[in-house]
């Protein structure tokens, strides 16, 4: 089981960010996602709020802050939607933020390959929670896995590696 208190371990580096950077990036991610909706399929390929949630969760390595960041981003994403009930993305991103922050201290999150695999895994975790919520709580049909979701997750993972290296620049020098 994951130990959510890994931030306190002395050999784990907790990255600090410039003040307001997290909020600004989260806000921009939501904004860009809304913009991407104009271009249809592109918005489905990339889930920028998810990538931001994962990145800050992995970097901050604080499950509580990762969870609350995921909750905030998820609820805002729900709020910007039209037909999905509030809480759907909220629940999924709450859990993703928590898990990302919990495992961030355990594995190497700086290596591009591990980042690729982590994003790929979190994409499917997020999708699984969403599908569960839809099927169990909302009684709506949804698929856990499709070929299209696989392609989406691969594209998201590849894009996420590039995005993470960009977001690394917002870190305060240790």
């Amino acid at each position: 089981m994951l130990n959510p208190t890994t931030q306190s371990e002395p050999n784990i580096e907790v990255h600090k960010f410039y003040s307001g950077a997290i909020l600004l990036v989260a806000f921009l991610a939501l904004l860009l996602q809304a913009f991407l909706h104009k271009y249809g399929r592109l918005a489905e390929l990339l889930d920028l709020p998810l990538l931001v949630t994962v990145y800050f969760g992995l970097s901050r390595r604080n499950p509580v802050s990762g969870m609350f960041l995921g909750t905030a981003i998820g609820l805002l994403q729900d709020g910007l939607g039209h037909d999905n009930p509030i809480g759907m993305y909220g629940i999924a991103k709450t859990i993703v933020g928590f898990v990302a922050a919990s495992i961030g201290g355990r594995i190497d999150t700086e290596n591009p390959l591990s980042r690729f695999l982590l994003i790929f895994a979190f994409f499917h975790l997020h999708q699984t929670i969403l599908t569960l919520t839809q099927r169990v709580l909302l009684n709506e049909p949804a698929h856990y896995f499709t070929l299209r979701l696989l392609v989406d997750s691969l594209v998201s993972a590849a894009f996420g590696v590039l995005l993470f290296s960009l977001l690394d620049r917002l870190r305060k020098p240790s």
Partner: protein
Amino acid sequence: MLDVYSRHRPYALLAAVVLIQVLMLAFQIKREHDVRLIRFWAVQLMTPVERAGSWMTSKVDGVWSGYIDLRSTHAEDQRLKSELDELRIRNHELETQAGEAQRLETLLNFRDAHPEAPMLAAQVIGASADPTSHTLFLNRGEHDHVRRNQAVITPDGVVGKIVEVFPSASQVLLINDKDGAAGALFETSRTQGIVKGTGDSDPVMDYVSNDEKVQSGESIVTSGLDRIFPKGFPIGTVESAKPGNPFQSIKVKTAVRLDRLEDVLILLTTQDIAVKKQAPETGSAPQVSAPVPQTEAARRGETSGAKKEETRSVPAHKVPPAMENPAPPATNPPANPAPAPAAAAPDESH
């Protein structure tokens, strides 16, 4: 106990947060209520920025497509110009065809309205090379039974007469040519005179006494005395009238635009064509009423008593010489009669 709580505090928080959201979902589903507050604030937070972003995007897009990304603009410009030229030519062709169809329809309607008066539609194919001569060439000739001194008209009024006939063409002397003329009378006062060309664009009406009251805009129609043009057919209207010596100087505005003729009718008879003036508001070609054939008696001037009284004719020696059966005796002979233009009459010498 406290140690256990602090160790599992993150999980407890996670469970609490997830539970709250699950309850929120359940609330929305069961009551079919929307958590409007979250949606409201999310939208309030994002839309101003989205709006600004959208504005910026459109501006950047405008600058990009309008100033930077012009690689294909020149080629497209050339293509569009070429397309525009083609469309202009096509449009001109269609307009020409439509105009021609309309003119031909007018001619056809006019001809159909007068089945008793044989007419031949003809196209203007040329004009005289002499700038002082007002003549036209038509695409009808001897093969079409065209003869000299046949009247050339349009549904609007008198054009001229045939002066030369060739196997497949003929020449028309327009009414405004210096040798052109037609027996005429004022439609309302029935005063007779002769409309003759001066070489200018507008002909004049001669042999009208100075005592006669002539008003601007008064209609002038053919008198039929020249035996070329049927009686009562429009020639034009009075443009201006002023006293002269020995007759009034009356400038006539022709009913037909003689400088813009394209299609005409050659009248193969001198039978009268009754023409009824159209209501002024319509302003188009005159409506044709039931034709009233001119009897030989009428041609000789033996009209009904009332009409005879109204009609004041030009004396026989004032009308064009070829009018062999002139109008009734003059009631108002001019003091110094002038010689009438010879071309108004059927030219038997040709």
